[in-house]
């Protein structure tokens, strides 16, 4: 089952409430996305920690229902 842009946004926002999120469906197939996320929560954290926070917000869907989500994170 593929995830829609809205579903992905909802998942991320539920654990990172201040997140500014920009998602693109790269191939128009609801399966390859890129997401640009900024939040205060990322401030002072390493890229690995920042991406882990995003992966955790996706509740195990990354690598399963969600095959390809390229992530860019930055602080606020």
């Amino acid at each position: 089952m593929a995830l829609s842009i809205e579903e992905i946004k909802k998942l991320i926002t539920s654990s990172i409430p201040d997140a500014t999120i920009e998602i693109k469906d790269l191939m128009g197939d609801s399966n390859h996305y890129s997401a640009k996320i900024s939040s205060k929560i990322f401030n002072g954290k390493s890229k690995i920690e920042q991406h882990k926070i995003v992966y955790k917000s996706l509740q195990g869907k990354m690598g399963n229902e969600l095959h390809a989500l390229s992530i860019t994170t930055e602080g606020k």
């Binding site: 890229k47 690995i48 991406h51 882990k52 992966y55 195990g60 990354m62 690598g63 390809a68 390229s70 992530i71 860019t72």
Partner: protein, 105 residues
């Protein structure tokens, strides 16, 4: 052998390890291809571990690094990141700098 121990042995024995889908000569996923090409571009010798050949390894590496996706790059025993992070580091020149610091270039 315990999978975590096996992974640790691979990482300890090889300065640069890429856990990937496919092999460096023929990656089987766009993200694995991207990281593999970056390492080749930098003329780095690396050990490619094809997780598609080993389901235990595929799950094991995700738990080992607490990271849900493949590829995963390790340099001198340290987890560097997946495709997005490696690409970003490469574009900013940080990856080359890191490899130079570790005397791998």
């Amino acid at each position: 052998m315990d999978i975590k121990l096996e992974i640790k042995n691979i990482i300890d024995k090889n300065d640069v390890c890429l856990f990937m889908k496919g092999v460096p000569e023929a990656p089987q996923c766009g993200f694995s291809t991207a990281v593999s090409n970056i390492l080749k571009h930098l003329n780095i010798n690396f050990k490619g571990i094809n997780i598609l050949e080993n389901e235990t390894m595929r799950q094991g590496i995700k738990e080992y690094s607490d990271w849900p996706t493949i590829p995963q790059l390790y340099i001198k025993g340290e987890f560097i990141g997946g495709c997005d992070i490696v690409k970003e580091m490469f574009e900013k020149g940080e990856l080359k700098k890191l490899l130079e610091t570790k005397n791998l270039i």
